[in-house]
Symmetry: C2
């Protein structure tokens, strides 16, 4: 399948590499292609510059947000929260229309330092903002409650015996995404929380997630719902 991934950070790279590995045609999108390629410094986490990553994943194409959204039959939003709506506006509503948009973003606000707060929460969510702004896209919120390596490889932790959540208004899109998550990444435990307003709940998991990362000293953990 042709898959478009908006965002060239760690999450976008991880999703893109996994999908390319399993044989999909992948384009990864950025605001400014030449600026993204011109950056030759490692990021703040010590990851290599994007150009080096792209050379190591040479089946993956790089494009603008609009080119990437036009290319993909299914799209991922892997941009940072503050950048999500601007990135999708640059992608262009007509390139999103009728397509599944898998939204991994979180509304984290680091402007006051650590720990971040959420710039939207409680009575609204970033997923809802995206769905309202682009009503013809089929937004499905998922994967936003995990560190990137676990998103695409849940089996490395307790053989995948932990939980993932999906939220969205379009039942067919959610069913398709649940299938993708199983087939592409190996997710076994996926709970459909309900419509897109239930994304408030998963976005509001971030504050405890961040505290647990500090306490545990690793992001390689996940929540399991024990019944």
């Amino acid at each position: 399948m042709n898959i478009g991934i908006l965002g060239t950070g760690g999450v976008g790279q991880t999703i893109a590499a996994k999908l390319a590995d399993i044989g999909h045609a992948v384009m990864i999108g950025t605001r400014d292609v030449s600026a993204t390629l011109a950056n030759t410094t490692a990021d703040r986490y010590g990851n290599p510059p994007f150009g080096a990553w792209l050379q190591a994943h040479n089946t993956i194409r790089l494009g603008t947000f609009a080119e990437t959204a036009a290319f993909g039959e299914v799209l991922f939003n892997a941009t940072v929260g503050f950048g999500s709506i601007p990135a999708l506006e640059a992608a262009g509503e007509s390139n999103l229309a009728g397509k599944i948009l898998i939204d991994i973003s979180n509304p984290l606000d680091f402007s006051q330092g650590m720990p971040p707060s959420l710039f939207v929460s409680n009575t609204d969510s970033l997923a809802e903002q995206i769905q309202r702004r682009f009503p013809s896209a089929k937004v499905v919120k998922t994967l936003n409650t995990l560190t990137a390596p676990l998103m695409v490889n849940p089996a490395v932790l307790a053989d995948g015996d932990h939980d993932l959540f999906v939220s969205g208004n379009d039942a067919g899109a959610k069913a398709a995404v649940i299938g993708y998550l199983r087939d592409w990444f190996g997710w076994k435990r996926i709970t459909d929380l309900g419509d897109i307003t239930t994304a408030r709940g998963t976005e509001m998991l971030l504050p405890i997630w961040i505290r647990l990362m500090g306490t545990l000293g690793t992001g390689m953990f996940n929540f399991k719902i024990v019944r």
Copy 2:
């Protein structure tokens, strides 16, 4: 130990009954003793009126918030979120001074119907509001992420293999509470998230908790942190 429990609802009753069962001297506190006893109707969940419950637990004393706070060497706040600060004000700061106050409340706002929103969240929490208003109390937030029967009997679910969190500014008070949770209720997995600001994280679990209760059709579940 003499233990005071503020709040005569389902959570307060459950905690009080368990502590009385294991031999503690328990007083349960309410705003208006005669009004609480005069209520002869079942609550909206079908639970019997408070007077009937009290007759069935005849070692438990009923008092005002102030009497209960004065009686308890350790106190539980099991009032509804909107009522917590008024209840503690009625209890009286001098009756709270220097004592451990185990805060189970959640800032749920049902005024706009279901699902509730939180009346404080993100950059503040109800636990912080309580700690700021009563600086001489040693507030430890815990148990607020569970349905009442699980609070006092975690072993009924997966033999207790699921997680509880504590937040608070006083290290000695947290250590004592962790001991109580183990000894009184049988909790095995307790994570100290950090200072009282980390209660934002556990209070912000409520939105997904409520959605999961709807999806699963039961409140008898809990989160386990899988590493």
